[in-house]
Amino acid sequence: MRDSLNAIFRRDLALAYRQRSELMQPMMFFILVISLFPLGIGPNPEILQKVGPGVIWVAAILSSLLGMERLFKDDFNDGSLEQIMLSATPLPMVVLVKVFAHWLTSIVPLLILSPLLALFLNLTEDMYWALLCTLLLGTPLLSLVGAIAVGLTLGLNRGGVLLALLLLPVFIPLLIFATAAVEAASLQLPYNAQLAIIGAMLLISLAMAPFAIAYALRVSQN
């Protein structure tokens, strides 16, 4: 089982590496959306600092949605997903590995970009560290919960907008707690509580989402 999971993991990484340009697009989108905000709101550093955490998180959610469909779409189209489902390896484990690979390849680059964006939006250093912590804990949650909806909409031709419609309401608590943590950091207050709640949500989804994703894939594969 470990061998096959390993193989799937390496295969997904290799595939992602070969599709570098496609992976770049959500990142470009992320930067672009964030640079639109100062243009729309005005360059006042104080206002930017105030809206910064929210803007970064909203942009992160939107750009993660953009790349989300890649998670299973190609495998679904060329039939390799069916092969994987027929194999002896338990599907929830496979799915977990695939989600992790997807997170590594399409979300971690966003995290690496985040210092630049913190500079753009005039975040203080305390705020930046809080932001990074929330992103580290929160984005895996995005991928895990998002994968359920991706699995459900796989068979549909135009699932993109529907995916956003399904997922955005579900992500609201994460957005609230994450931005609250950064806001607390900006006031020099402790933000452990918010991080703990995000961590709890991550753990719950880690325990339950793989099974939901596996079921969703079976529904789509019919």
Partner: protein, 248 residues
């Protein structure tokens, strides 16, 4: 214990049951709803602070409570469908979704119409209004997911998964919004949080809740029958049912 329920997993029996119950539900729903509304609008005392605008409570609170209740009912139906593979449960789920969405809309609309005279603005990001708004989005998500599938059996399963994801999230959303709200706004809305409601206001409120619930149930029964018909259009029992109904 639950064995008496099993026959109703069969669509024909469920349809028969709905058809027999329907007149009772329609009659009791109309009576209770009208009594609740008239009592609330004309006979309940006005609030000493808010005057007669307070009467919006007799539609606002029932719709707010029942919008959440309908979502839970939908998720329970989805759960039954997913675990025990009951097709009728999926039909019940999707029959309930538009009703829940409309009731959520009513809660939002009346909340806004109440907010205007009380807070001076149609919309505030009040915790309860915000979670109702998110609830509406969740309903719309389930409905549009169901609508996107050609194969309605698959659609039922997919929408069921989404309904359950939503119901797991609902308490989290509710508490997060409440907490977010207290963080961002002062206690400007606490005048709604009265310690207790006078009995002459409480009774009409309870009756309006019951009335709206019965109205929703009556519509639900009709919609469930429609859903069963739509999915089993070519089955012999549907054909005989329609021809006997037309002969009458």
């Amino acid at each position: 214990m639950w064995k008496w329920l099993h026959p109703y997993a069969k669509t024909q029996n469920a349809y028969e049951l709905c058809r027999r119950l329907q007149p009772w539900f329609v009659i009791t729903a109309l009576i209770t709803f009208v009594v609740g509304m008239v009592w609330g609008l004309a006979f309940a005392p006005a609030d000493y602070q808010q005057g007669d605008s307070f009467r919006i409570i007799y539609i606002h609170v029932p719709s707010a409570i029942l919008s959440m209740g309908a979502y839970s009912a939908m998720a329970i139906a989805a759960f039954i469908g997913l675990v025990w593979q009951v097709r009728t449960a999926f039909m019940a789920m999707i029959a309930l979704a538009p009703i829940g969405a409309v009731v959520t809309f009513i809660a939002l609309f009346t909340g806004a119409a109440w907010g205007k005279p009380m807070w001076g603005t149609w919309w505030v990001w009040d915790a309860r209004l915000t979670s109702e708004l998110i609830l509406l989005f969740l309903y719309l998500g389930v409905i549009s997911l169901y609508a996107s599938f050609e194969d309605k059996h698959q659609a039922g399963k997919a929408a069921g998964v989404m309904a359950i994801v939503g119901v797991v999230n609902l308490p989290i959303i509710h508490f997060s919004v409440e907490w977010w709200n207290t963080l961002h706004q002062g206690a400007s809305i606490t005048k709604f949080d009265k310690p207790s409601v006078a009995p002459e206001m409480l009774w009409p409120l309870l009756i309006s809740i019951l009335g709206l619930a019965l109205v929703m149930a009556a519509i639900f029964i009709r919609r469930l029958q429609n859903e069963i018909l739509r999915r089993e259009l070519n089955r012999p029992w549907v054909q005989t049912l329609v021809s006997t109904a037309r002969e009458k």
